[in-house]
């Protein structure tokens, strides 16, 4: 099967083209291997099916960011049969800069001029034929979005793949052409593939090439000594870049005629004026963030009911609208309940709850009528269905959150957020660029950790990866919602929404504090540069959003029916069998294997409020320990475990028609174990900050340099333990705040003084003496 690679600048419509090419047959997934994130699919409309590989978006083939190295190594080592270079026609010069580099590799190249519709719309003209003649490689006009010109593109690529192509360069007229030629001939003599590409990179002083071809470096050095230049001196890297752009402006840009520019602002400019306004920019961002969480997790749309109080409980029935039919009552409550009009997040959540309640009730009744064994009923109701419905009921809400985050990404606003916040972030030692993966972390830590690849600075990448889990992901959100909902229902005057929001903000604050701490200790150094394209705003594409959501949905369904189902069954077995493999009824839980395991480590959790704090907690608190441990497999497990274990320790669940999933379980556990609200919050904070789920931890391991992962795990464990303990202590006894503040102040003062050279540690001295 032939292999075509898609390469191009970030944001040039590559993924849109990839989706258009591979369509519904696309098997979008990560490749095996660690640092690879190339998507693969198949195009079937040619005489033979063709494999399509989507490479990460890049500006250049320089070796500064991991994604550039991935793309470059792929084209050189894997030798695709053709490279399809996608170019944003509205941004010709900068896109062609990459083209001039790809052309130097010995590989067939076809240029796809994307977004031609936008060019025509703005009245500009781009002559593709003229451009093709100037470049010397096929150029095809397409619109990936409208699915235009794609068969023609693939036809040209198919033809191009049939014959080999030798690299060509735009540098032949420059002062460097001689040395490039000499190095190229030397490399060719050695049988190096793509000698021209390597020769140019060697002349630029590219780190990777210098390492691989030490002999030819001498040739470049010799040339450098003779060469002198007024503008660049001996900086060949600058000369090469300059030559490329000069050549592009002189030869290629002539194919482009700009329409007479009117002074009218484009829609994008108008939007930008408001969204990055000097005064309103930051408040608008905060409002958008709050609105997203409100629309996802809130129950009372825009607090209408809180303000006007129109939703009333009819006759103490628990419903705001009462009809004669129970099922109909429950169905109406999905949209309009005693809490008021439901938000979109609440609607999908309630709907799913409505469905799972009906199914769960049916299963339980069916088993009872069939006269199944007691243990079989328990296994199916609590172990299997309890675990499954636990995660199924959260999926819609997670998807809603994900949808909002995708809209922010797709519209171009996310890049502006980085722009607005860079200054604030720099104070703590990160660039605004790092904020994009962090905010993606609200959806899921896995894509967020992969996104850190766009950060050029290694220290920044490590730090960002470490704090990404502090941005509460969709799977942790149910823990917050359940705990805060439970606290709000037990204590009057507590607003669950605000408490959830406060915890989100607390996670963000912890991320910032820990970055600042690492900057002062293990990750000292300068903040990475911030040079970033701000893409034009555009309305999010419905199709793209749906593809995104479908991907996510598949991921969660798979997770629900594999790892989460398996672990909830395992938990059920461990909690209902003793070491001698006797089946235990719910009330004999104290003899179970799970109890012993949880109780064994429970004493450690005393400072966090769910250890040996009271005799009641000493007996039942192990439930929280087990829940936290199962959370390591997947964070959705935490509440699921509550559901499985609650009946076992005698906590009375509100029954299957509990519309507010999770909250009921937590309330039941509060009553059964006697855990304080401070302990519950500490438990939540612990789960927010500790080692993330296996999938996220594995991704972070893959995205950070070798040997750093064990420190990362230690970092997560210590941070979560210490912070959760501090939260519990301060909330329980206010005066402990003074002691903790004093300790923190002492630590901070120590590190600041040490960094200023006022305190010296003697470790190094001793080592040298020993030598």
């Amino acid at each position: 099967m032939l292999k075509f690679a898609l390469a191009g600048n970030p944001n040039c419509g590559k993924t849109t083209l990839f989706n258009a090419l591979t369509g519904s047959t696309a098997h979008v997934g990560n490749w095996p291997g660690v640092t690879v994130d190339k998507k693969e699919g198949t195009y079937k409309k040619l005489p033979e099916p063709v494999a399509i590989v989507d490479l990460p978006g890049i500006y250049s083939l320089s070796p500064y960011t991991p994604e550039e190295v991935i793309s470059r190594n792929y084209i050189i080592d894997e030798k695709p049969d053709c490279v399809i270079n996608i170019i944003d026609a509205t941004n010709l010069e900068r896109n062609l800069y990459l083209t001039t580099q790809i052309m130097e590799i010995d590989v067939p190249v076809v240029v796809a001029l994307n977004m031609m519709d936008a060019v025509k719309k703005s009245g500009d003209k781009l002559d593709a034929v003229k451009l093709e003649r100037a470049l010397g490689i096929p150029v095809v006009e397409i619109s990936a979005l409208k699915n235009e010109g794609i068969p023609a593109l693939m036809e040209r690529a198919w033809q191009a793949a049939a014959c080999a192509r030798e690299g060509s360069t735009v540098l032949c007229g420059s002062a460097l052409s001689h040395v490039i030629d000499d190095v190229k001939i030397a490399l060719k003599g050695k049988g190096v593939p793509s000698p021209l590409f390597h020769a140019v990179k060697l002349v630029e002083g590219d780190e990777l090439e210098v390492k691989n071809h030490p002999d030819e470096v001498a040739m470049v050095e010799a040339f450098k000594e003779q060469h002198s230049d007024d503008v660049f001196g001996g900086d060949f890297e600058a000369m090469v870049a300059d030559e490329r752009y000069k050549y592009i402006s002189a030869h290629f840009s002539t194919a482009f005629t700009r329409a007479q520019k009117s002074e009218k602002l484009t829609k994008s400019d108008k939007a930008d004026r408001v969204l990055t306004h000097r005064i309103w920019g930051i408040p608008i961002f905060l409002v958008i963030l709050f609105a997203i969480f409100h629309l996802t997790f809130g129950e009372d749309l825009f607090y209408l009911n809180a303000m006007f109080g129109f939703a009333k409980d009819v006759d103490g029935s628990g419903y705001a609208v009462l009809t004669g039919n129970d099922v109909l009552n429950a169905f109406i409550a999905v949209f309009y309940s005693t809490a008021g009009v439901s938000t979109p997040g609440a609607i999908v959540f309630n709907l799913m709850g409505f469905v799972t309640d009906q199914i769960g009730g049916g299963i339980a009744a069916g088993l009872e009528n069939a006269g199944a064994y007691e243990w079989a009923q328990g296994l199916v109701n609590d172990g299997i269905w309890g675990g499954l419905s636990g995660i199924l009921s959260f999926i819609p809400q997670i998807l809603v959150l994900f949808l909002f985050i995708s809209i922010l990404e797709d519209s171009g606003y996310m890049a502006r957020v980085a722009f607005i916040l860079d200054r604030a972030f720099r104070k703590f030692g990160l660039s605004g660029r790092a904020f994009i993966p962090m905010i993606m972390g609200f959806g899921c830590s896995v894509p967020a950790a992969i996104n850190t690849r766009t950060l050029a600075d290694e220290k920044e990448r490590i730090m960002t990866n470490r704090v990404i889990p502090f941005f509460t992901c969709g799977a942790k959100a149910p823990i917050l919602a359940a705990v805060c909902g439970a606290i709000a229902s037990e204590f009057t005057g507590v607003n669950a929404d605000l408490l959830v929001f406060a915890l989100y903000v607390f996670g963000m604050a912890m991320a910032i504090v820990m970055v600042a701490f690492m900057r002062q200790t293990s990750m000292r150094g300068e903040v990475a540069p911030f040079i970033m394209e701000l893409p034009a705003y555009h309305a999010p594409q419905l199709y793209n959003l749906m593809v995104h959501l479908w991907d996510k949905l598949k991921h969660y369904i798979k997770k629900a029916f594999t790892i989460i189902l398996a672990s909830s069954i395992v938990i059920w077995f461990l909690s209902h069998f003793s070491w001698e493999w006797h089946y235990l009824a719910d009330e004999q839980i104290n003899e179970s294997i799970l109890h012993d395991i949880g109780a064994f480590v429970q004493w450690i959790c005393t400072p966090m409020g769910f250890g040996y704090n009271t005799s009641e907690l000493r007996t039942f608190g192990w439930v929280f320990v087990v829940a936290a441990v199962t959370g390591l497999i997947a964070k959705e497990n935490v509440i699921t475990t509550f559901y499985v274990l609650a009946p076992a320790i005698g906590a009375v669940l509100p029954g299957w028609d509990d519309g507010e999933s999770g909250i009921g379980a937590v309330v039941a556990l509060m009553n059964a174990t006697g855990i304080t609200w401070q302990g519950l919050l500490a438990f939540t904070v612990f789960n927010m900050l500790t080692v993330p789920c296996f999938a996220a931890a594995a991704t972070v391991k893959a995205e950070t340099p070798k040997g750093k992962f064990r420190y990362t795990v230690a970092f997560w464990m210590l941070t979560s333990y210490i912070t959760a303990a501090a939260v519990f202590l301060i909330l329980s006894w206010w005066w402990t705040a003074l002691i903790i503040a004093a300790v923190i102040a002492a630590v901070v003062a120590f590190f600041i003084l040490r960094n200023k050279g006022k305190i010296r540690l003697n470790f190094k001295k001793k080592e040298t003496q020993r030598e």
Binding site: R278, F419, R423, F530, I531
Partner: protein, 76 residues
């Protein structure tokens, strides 16, 4: 008249004379099209006073004042 890009005010326009500084920042600037001869318009300053947004080669680029100070401009 020569002036550094970080000293520009919103709405000011100029042509790049040369790039100072070294290493990665310099290379990034080149890759993004900030090369001698490029026409640059300073669009706006971020709410907290840094970074700045410029328009060049038909697109919008954001960079910090620290990086902008490497870019020596000729004011039109």
């Amino acid at each position: 008249m020569e002036k550094k890009l970080n000293e520009f005010k919103p709405g000011e326009r100029g042509v790049v004379r040369r790039i100072e500084g070294e290493g990665q920042i310099r290379r990034r600037l080149f890759d993004m099209g900030v090369t001698p001869g490029a026409d640059i318009l300073l669009r706006k300053v971020a709410p907290l006073g840094d970074p700045v947004e410029v328009n060049l080669r038909g697109y919008e680029l954001s960079l910090r004042k620290a990086e902008a100070s490497c870019v020596v401009m000729e004011v039109k």
